[in-house]
């Protein structure tokens, strides 16, 4: 990959993702209209990937209208401007333009992938979708039927039942407790006005983050930023979601006639901007984030054959943070799986990690990072993460140092603070023996 000569005065900062031979450069590009984007140029393939996110997401769904932003995400590619649903979709498909909208708890995410030949059309259709969605009544009703049908699937699945129940128990009075895909009653209650208003009030340029990767130059991107996003409101409504903390120490069994019980569990974790984030990241890798190398997989799966799958995760949301995990075990041994996991929670909290484990975690967390750069879409998502968490355009240079600086004493301190097994909220779906 060539080092590109800077052609634009609007290019402010540079950073190198991989210092090795395939150096990838992040540029900050600012359009004449003042819209900012991070760009990684890559002209090896005639493909451009765009990732856009807006603050808010499902946490903005009003009470009684859970699933609203998810519903919006399903409808934005169902017709815009003069193009009805079939015309819009047909054009995307004929030109192989991949456009996606997804709601997360704290963000509303937009993806676009196009061949260079269709670049201008792709950007203009995205602009149309964001600023002039049609919300035609027949499209609304068709998607409503699909959402209701999916929800009916969701209550069939032990995993889905478990996760919905866990959210409700952890955050009983907070939007995080409501299902982001809604429930049948809330989906039936959503009106066209709700959809129109949601878009008008929550997709503003002030919370928008744009990341672009691929076969496009800063000079080509700048006018497209203005033509695509210039029509959005300058400001979104302020986000009125309060900070919260999860509930503690609840165990709930949801009976379902399946041979394998599914358990999910969580308690308070650390936020992304917490000074202990990197320590928690290392700790979680050793505990249950590290796949086949993790303690949970070793104790639950390898030694005892109790489960095919078990892991732990950090979930740093905007207004609350969780550390949690999951396991699936035959009904008569689920109690044993949970006892082993609780014991691992406590062992980590009391004894921390060995030097060998710490070194192994650092080797993986640093050594595997280039795997995140495997496609234009993956790099665009990474740029979004860097920008949204304000990690800095030079973050990739600093990341290794941040991870390497974690000590075993740090891990023990953070584990002691976070991993309190009797504060876990646990949901088991199935017919676990000895847990009724």
């Amino acid at each position: 990959m060539n080092v590109r000569i800077l052609v634009s005065a609007a290019v402010l900062v540079l950073a190198w993702i991989v210092p090795a031979q395939a150096a990838t450069k992040i540029e900050e590009v600012i359009s004449p209209g003042g819209i900012k984007a991070w760009l990684v140029e890559d002209h090896s393939n005639p493909i451009i990937a765009l990732d856009v996110s807006f603050s808010g997401g499902a946490s903005l769904d009003p009470e009684g209208k859970a699933g609203l932003s998810d519903f919006v995400s399903d409808l934005l590619d169902e017709g815009a401007g003069d193009l009805d649903s079939q015309t819009f979709q047909g054009k995307l498909q004929d030109l192989s333009i991949q456009m996606s909208f997804n709601t997360a708890r704290d963000t509303f995410d937009v993806g676009l992938k196009t061949l260079t030949d269709n670049r201008d059309t792709a950007f203009s259709m995205l602009g149309l979708a964001l600023t002039k969605p049609r919300f035609d009544p027949d499209a609304i009703e068709r998607i409503r039927e699909q959402v209701l049908s999916n929800l009916s699937d969701a209550i069939d699945s032990p995993n889905s039942v478990a996760n919905r129940t866990l959210a409700a128990l952890l955050f009983p009075k907070h939007p995080y407790g409501r299902p982001s895909d809604g429930d049948p009653d809330s989906i039936k209650a959503i009106t066209r006005d709700d959809l129109v208003n949601w878009v008008g009030h929550h997709l503003g340029r002030d919370t928008m983050i744009v990341s672009v990767v691929g076969d496009i130059t800063p000079g080509q991107l700048k006018p497209l930023l203005d033509s695509t996003f210039g029509g959005l409101p300058a400001k979104a409504d302020p986000i009125a979601v309060p900070d919260t903390t999860p509930a503690i120490g609840i165990v709930k069994v949801v009976h379902k006639p399946v041979p394998q019980s599914v358990a999910v569990f969580a308690e308070q974790g650390v936020k992304r901007n917490d000074p202990d984030w990197y320590t928690a990241l290392v700790m979680n890798y050793i505990l249950g984030g590290g796949g086949f190398s993790s303690r949970l997989m070793t104790e639950v799966r390898e030694k005892r054959g109790l489960a095919y799958q078990t892991d732990s995760y950090l979930l740093p949301r905007e207004h609350a943070a969780l550390i949690g995990g999951q396991v699936g075990t035959r009904n008569d041994r689920m109690a044993e799986s949970l006892a082993v996991i609780r014991a691992e929670w406590t062992r980590m909290a009391e004894k921390g990690v060995t030097d060998a484990e710490l070194a192994g975690a650092k080797k993986f967390l640093n050594g595997s990072f280039p795997l995140e750069l495997g496609s234009t879409g993956a790099i665009a998502e990474l740029l979004d993460t860097l920008q949204r968490n304000k990690l800095g355009i030079d973050y990739l240079d600093r990341r290794t140092g941040l991870i390497d600086s974690v000590t075993a004493a740090d891990v023990k301190r953070v584990a002691h603070k976070l991993l309190v097994e009797n504060q876990l909220v646990v949901v088991v779906v199935g017919n676990p023996k000895g847990m009724e």
Binding site: V18, A20, Q21, A22, S44, N45, P46, I47, Q86, Q89, Q93, D94, S96, K113, L115, D138, R142, E145, S149, S152, D153, I155, D156, P158, V254, H255, K256, P257, V258, P259, Q260, G291, F292, S293, T298, E302, R304, G305, L306, A307, Y308, Q309, G328, R330, N331, G360, F364, N366, G367, S368, F369, P370, L371, L373, G374, S375, T376, G377, A378, N431
Partner: protein, 466 residues
């Protein structure tokens, strides 16, 4: 397809689903070691990483009667130690080198893969060569892993009405071919597998002349060749048993299945037609059938979605699909899920009418042109990820295909004519080739028992979700 861990299974399913659109000129290069092992490099220099895929041409179809699930059990035990690498250490060594690894088993082949920095590839190849020939297994490691595999079966099959029903559909479609039995195995037989079975199966099938190594990413064949010679060149070829010929008798009778399950809330209608693959049956229909699937059921502007979802408002989801990467016969599939409150019979009638219209009226030249344009355009996306090349080539090479089959895919699709599509539809979408399945909610007391011997209090059956 069944895998060592869930994550990879999902990745692979996604690749298989979009594969026809992805296969294109990857620029793959290959050579064969004197011991018969095929080595393939798929250059993609975006990032300094590689995806290494070790394929053995053995899968669920190669199991002997009474031992279904054995190929998959062997896959799990490949992580349980060699003469020099302790049980469980394989993945730890990969992780300590900044890599991710996993494995999967399909009907026709078994794959082991690692995504890792390109400079760590020699270590990976050393480990793969080691477990090909030096596997050293013990009962104390087999016993818990056997339970792990049974948990995998519970998760994928017994806990999932769709998982159970898929097995029933396949068993009904394939009367003779070994695809009749599920890759994960029939549970009663999986329970009976032994360590001796695993060792015998590994000895029989794991040899360089039954293996293909495909490395995609920041690699060239010039770089890969000396490494392959160093780590695999000295491994001796072995006499391989003949693989079963996978043939179906001429189909005579349409089959129909209904399964009722207390955990189903959303009914579904499924139809499979016995279809040719690249290597079995009327292979001249393969590319026309790929185009046909694109036309009738690939997206929200294709015929089935337009008619059933948008115009008639009967279905919430509908699709058609077809994949030709198999040694033996395969299937052309239809799926539909009714809108809430719509009777499954209405869906069945509507789908039958749609399929009849495809056969009787055919597709138009415009339909075919539009599908071909889209399929060709999507090809450019194939090179975007460093992993895709290895995945796609593995599917072809492990089932008897060639690199040319993958690289020339765009030209072969471009050559398909409307007449060929219509001829293929008439030949394959025939009642006697079909299995129709309805997966329906069960009322309390209906449907098969959950699991003989499981401790489900009867009063919770059927009302468990309230």
């Amino acid at each position: 397809m069944t895998a060592r861990s869930l994550g990879f299974a999902l990745i692979l399913v996604a690749c298989v689903a979009v594969k026809p659109a992805f296969a294109q000129v990857f620029g793959a290069e290959a050579f064969t070691l004197p011991n018969g092992m095929q080595i393939v490099a798929v250059p993609n220099h975006r990032a300094p990483v590689v995806s290494s895929m070790m394929i053995y041409k053995v899968g669920g179809v190669d199991e002997m009667p009474g031992k279904t699930g054995l190929a998959h059990m062997v896959e799990h035990m490949m992580f349980k130690g060699t003469k020099t690498v302790l049980p469980g250490m394989f993945s730890r060594i990969v992780a300590a080198n900044g890599g991710r690894d996993d494995a999967f088993t399909s009907e026709d082949y078994t794959g082991y893969y690692q995504d890792i920095s390109a400079d760590r590839l020699p270590e990976i190849m050393r480990l793969e060569a080691d477990r090909m020939v030096n596997l050293s297994l013990h009962e104390k490691d087999f016993t818990p892993e056997h339970q792990v595999v049974l948990e995998e079966e519970r998760m994928r099959v017994e806990n999932s009405p769709e998982g159970k029903f898929d097995q029933q559909m396949n068993a009904a479609l394939y009367l003779n071919a070994a695809y009749h039995h599920p890759v994960i195995g029939w549970k009663s037989e999986v329970e009976g597998l032994t360590l001796a079975d695993v060792i015998a199966f590994h000895d029989k099938w794991y040899a360089p002349n039954n293996a293909v190594l495909i490395v995609s990413g920041d690699i060239t064949l010039a770089q890969l060749k000396p490494m392959a010679e160093k780590y695999f060149g000295s491994l001796p070829a072995r006499k391989l048993p003949p693989r079963l010929v996978l043939e179906e008798p001429h189909p005579l009778a349409a089959r129909s299945l209904v399964m009722k399950d207390g955990n189903v809330h959303q009914p579904s209608w499924n139809r499979m037609y016995l279809a040719p693959s690249h290597h079995a049956g009327d292979t001249q229909f393969v590319y026309p059938l790929e185009v046909l699937a694109q036309i009738v059921g690939s997206d929200t502007t294709s015929r089935l979605y337009r008619h059933l979802v948008i115009e008639q408002k009967l279905a919430s989801e509908v699709w058609a699909g077809y994949s030709a990467d198999a040694r033996g016969p395969t299937s052309f599939d239809f799926f539909a899920s009714p809108n809430p409150g719509v009777d499954i019979d209405k869906i069945a009638t509507a789908m039958d009418a749609e399929i009849m219209a495809i056969v009787e009226q055919g597709v138009t030249p415009e339909d075919v042109q539009r599908a071909k344009t889209k399929m060709r355009a999507e090809v450019a996306y194939a090179r975007d990820s460093y992993q895709t090349g290895a995945r796609v080539l593995a599917g072809a090479l492990a089932t008897g295909g060639t690199i040319a089959d993958v690289e020339e895919w765009p030209q072969r699709i471009a050559a398909v004519t409307p007449d060929q599509v219509n001829e293929a539809a008439r030949a394959i979408l025939r009642e006697e080739r079909s299995v129709t399945g309805e997966l329906l909610p069960a009322k309390p007391g209906e449907g098969p028992p959950v699991e003989p011997g499981s401790e489900v209090p009867p009063e919770t059956l059927g009302k468990s979700l309230r």
